[in-house]
Symmetry: C2
Subunit: 69 residues, 2 copies
């Protein structure tokens, strides 16, 4: 899954939240939630993190270096 916008949307729906409710829970504006779901990459990392936290989504970074040592 590379589509963060769709991922957020799916999780939001599963949680039974509207964009506005998710925005309020994450402490951000509704416009930003909309932007995230539209894969607008100019949003702040902190705002994405706030949304992911509400939806219980974890972030992982992977590379050849992280695999071994």
């Amino acid at each position: 899954m590379v589509d963060l916008g769709l991922l957020v949307k799916k999780h939001r729906k599963k949680a039974g939240l509207t964009q506005l409710e998710l925005a309020n829970l994450a402490g951000i504006g509704k416009t930003t939630v909309f932007d995230i779901e539209k894969n607008k990459e100019t949003v702040r990392w902190s705002n994405i993190l706030a949304v992911l936290q509400v939806l219980n989504i974890e972030v992982e970074f992977k590379s050849p270096l992280t695999e071994n040592g």
Copy 2:
């Protein structure tokens, strides 16, 4: 690994790049690279993505929903 700043720094070092070189390769300012390595979360998602791309680091989002279906 949750420390994105340290992760970026390690990969940058491994690639033999200075912050300025990484910034130029990623097409962003040196200040932003510095901020990312300092785990400043107010940076733009697009700028983080640009840095990760240069360093060949992939992003993965995980949750109970992404595991099964």
